[in-house]
């Protein structure tokens, strides 16, 4: 309200404005003090809890959209991984290299190779190479004419964009780096195994040595220095390609652009960054 109205109004208005604060009675100033305390407390609580949540959210969004990856040569790096199943010969060298590079305990796997055999009667037989050196289980003696087709599918963490494992980790020990790599903080993991349950791809496990959740890191210790993951380096047929999907000139970006690309269990909406060439509906 302005003070320039009619006289009566002006008087009332200005009187209120000019009233010295010292004239407020004790109960009023106490009420004011309490009100201030409530306001300040609420503001403080909001600052400490709600606002950081939004900031965190904003960070996560940036990773999704690739706005804030690791700066290299003037652009942001988002890592991706491509498996060309048409090239895999099922040797299992990748799995052995991974075990050696990452000290993965016996009986546990950060990567493995599956074999799919399609028979003329419509059945599909699946097994996995868990020992390396082409060591799949013995197939029953069959007439080669009964087999329609057969191929290998290497599996590893999908480093999903919308990760169920990070979502369910109760202490935030599972997290995503700026480059989109999904990792576990072994010092923070409480070993509840909720992430093991939440991962749709069976790539997480409780490491029997460290007693924490464990999974493929895309050899984060190597890729930080410009090297490739051990499995990619060791593959004799170039089945596995790794690189910056934010760089259109990278080998992986070109392969992603030129081929028909699929991901595992796309219906779950996790948007994996490990992608495949040559999948069939039977591969899950």
């Amino acid at each position: 309200m302005s003070c320039s109205g009619n006289k009566g109004a002006k008087d009332t208005c200005c009187e209120t404005q000019n009233q010295p604060t010292g004239l407020l009675d004790a109960s009023e100033s106490r009420r004011e003090f309490l009100w201030d305390a409530v306001k300040n407390f609420t503001f403080g609580a909001l600052t400490l809890t709600v606002i950081p949540m939004f900031i965190e959210k904003a960070d996560a969004e940036e990773v999704h959209t690739g706005k804030d990856g690791k700066e290299t040569k003037g652009h942001t790096v988002i890592f991706g991984y491509l498996v060309d199943t048409t090239k895999c010969i099922g040797c299992g060298g990748c799995m052995l290299a991974c075990k050696k590079e990452n000290d993965v305990p016996d009986g546990q796997f950060r990567t493995w190779v599956e074999r799919y055999v399609y028979y003329a009667d419509g059945s599909v037989r699946v097994d996995a190479n868990l020992k390396g050196k082409f060591a799949f289980s013995e197939l029953p003696p069959i007439n080669p004419k009964e087999v329609l087709k057969s191929f290998f599918v290497p599996k590893l963490c999908n480093h999903c964009t919308d990760t169920p494992c990070i979502q369910v980790c109760p202490v935030g020990a599972s997290y995503k780096t700026k480059e989109g790599v999904v990792l576990v903080d072994y010092e923070q993991c409480i070993g509840c195994a909720y992430c093991v349950q939440a991962c749709p791809f069976g790539t997480r496990f409780i490491n029997t040595k460290t007693q924490t959740a464990d999974k493929c890191t895309w050899c984060y210790h190597r890729i930080q220095h410009g090297e490739k993951p051990a499995c990619v380096d060791v593959c004799p047929t170039g089945t596995r390609t790794f690189g910056d999907i934010n760089d259109p000139e990278s080998e992986i970006s070109k392969a992603l652009a030129e081929n028909r690309i699929d991901v595992l269990k796309s219906y779950l909406g996790t948007r994996p960054k490990t992608r495949y060439i040559g999948l069939t509906a039977e591969v899950v």
Binding site: V168, P170, Q211
Partner: protein, 389 residues
């Protein structure tokens, strides 16, 4: 543990399931907490005065189970020394992160309600002489005087806490169901019905446990079982049993009727792997039989002695039903390899931190605490105003 020929499970599943018997026990104990509280609330909030003989005991039972609800989780954690990270650095996108807060809130609510319900007795005993009174002085929180006004205020608080405790119990157990229901990777778990199913079965288990304990304690104390009270509990149990079983069946029926791409493996899970624990124990022994027994049990014509027998048998059967339901959800869900081409073998272990022996030990503890509480506090006393009524 190699899968059968033609089957395939993901290699990391060859080591067995990640959640074992402790995670079966955890929702079982939590359910008993919620269920027992509901009985107390039926009395305090919904005016079911015939439940007066067990109203105080129900609170004590709820508290005793609640006190040990976290122990199975602690035994399960692979890094138990980091257990409190869940409260100090919670990740709120995780359903599990709320656990510490919901649990602490509920345990506190129960403790306060018990102290208020028993306040008159605590104050009276605190004012007596002798060493024993020291304990009651402690429980009285140092206030050794009661006035008509203070009693009135306490009664209001008891009512308020009982009212608040109902949604809190629903949150506590609904949340446990959500832990499973929110896992889209697992088609046996991933259903919005899961929290409701857990809640219904929690109430069922809590009432059944109270029926069994009421009868057992009455035998020990050599007092007659209050017929009206038992009948009322059996009727309530019968109602909630129907609700729980209908929900459980609807969930399965829906999966079978829709017959999505995972049904081929889920149907085998139900009919082969869980045939004994699901079809025989959960559905027939634990649901169909108690349904009939309870129905006969709560009918007016049935004599008091028959009612006690029927109550005891059906109570125990329902307790087995809920335990098997927890098993079928927790272990059954993990038997399903996410390859959806084979099953993970579950071989229960007897010894070790997560073994069956320790689980039995853990499950014994709430009963020991309850026995102790019933020695310290007059859990069988009926509130004065209801006695007159």
């Amino acid at each position: 543990m190699m899968p059968h020929a033609g089957e395939f499970i993901f290699p990391n599943d060859l080591n067995g399931v990640a959640w074992t018997v402790m995670i079966v026990l955890y929702p079982y104990i939590t359910g008993l907490v919620a269920g027992a509280f509901v009985v107390a609330a039926l009395y305090h909030v919904f005016g079911r005065k015939e439940l007066a003989p067990v109203a105080r005991f129900a609170l004590a039972a709820s508290f005793s189970f609640c006190a040990f609800a976290t122990l199975p989780l602690l035994l399960h954690l692979h890094q138990p020394q980091r257990a409190f990270f869940i409260m100090f650095m919670p990740n709120f996108t995780s359903a599990m992160a709320g656990f510490g807060f919901i649990y602490s809130f509920y345990l506190t609510l129960l403790a306060v309600e018990i102290l208020l319900v028993f306040r008159t007795d605590i104050v009276a005993m605190a004012n007596e002489k002798g060493v024993r009174s020291l304990l009651y002085k402690l429980l009285s929180l140092g206030v050794l005087r009661e006035t008509a006004k203070s009693k009135e205020i306490d009664a209001k608080w008891v009512h308020a806490l009982s009212v608040l405790g109902i949604p809190a119990a629903c949150v506590l157990h609904g949340y446990v169901g959500f832990i499973f229901g929110g896992i889209k990777a697992n088609p046996w778990w991933s259903t919005a019905l899961m929290p409701v199913i857990f809640l219904a079965s929690a109430i069922v288990s809590g009432i059944a446990m109270l029926i069994v304990l009421y009868i057992v304690f009455s035998k020990i104390r050599r007092v007659k079982v209050d017929d009206e009270c038992l009948r009322s509990m059996m009727k309530t149990l019968w109602l909630f049993l129907i609700l729980a079983v209908v929900l459980e069946s609807l969930e399965l029926l829906n999966m079978a009727y829709e017959a999505g791409e995972e049904w081929h493996i889920l149907s085998r899970l139900v009919t082969e792997k869980l045939r004994f624990s699901f079809v025989y124990v959960q559905l027939i022994i634990g649901s169909a039989i108690p349904f009939v027994l309870l129905l006969i049990g709560w009918m007016k014509k049935t004599g008091p002695r028959t009612r006690v027998t029927l109550g005891m048998i059906s109570g125990l059967l329902v307790l087995v039903q809920v335990l098997s339901m927890r098993f079928n959800v927790v272990i059954g869900g993990q038997m399903l390899s996410k390859s959806f081409r084979g099953f993970v073998e579950y071989i229960p272990e007897w010894q070790g931190r997560e073994g069956i022996l320790v689980a039995i030990g853990v499950f014994t503890m709430p009963f020991v605490l309850l026995a102790a509480v019933s020695q310290i506090l007059p859990v069988w006393k009926i509130d004065a105003h209801d006695h007159q009524a």
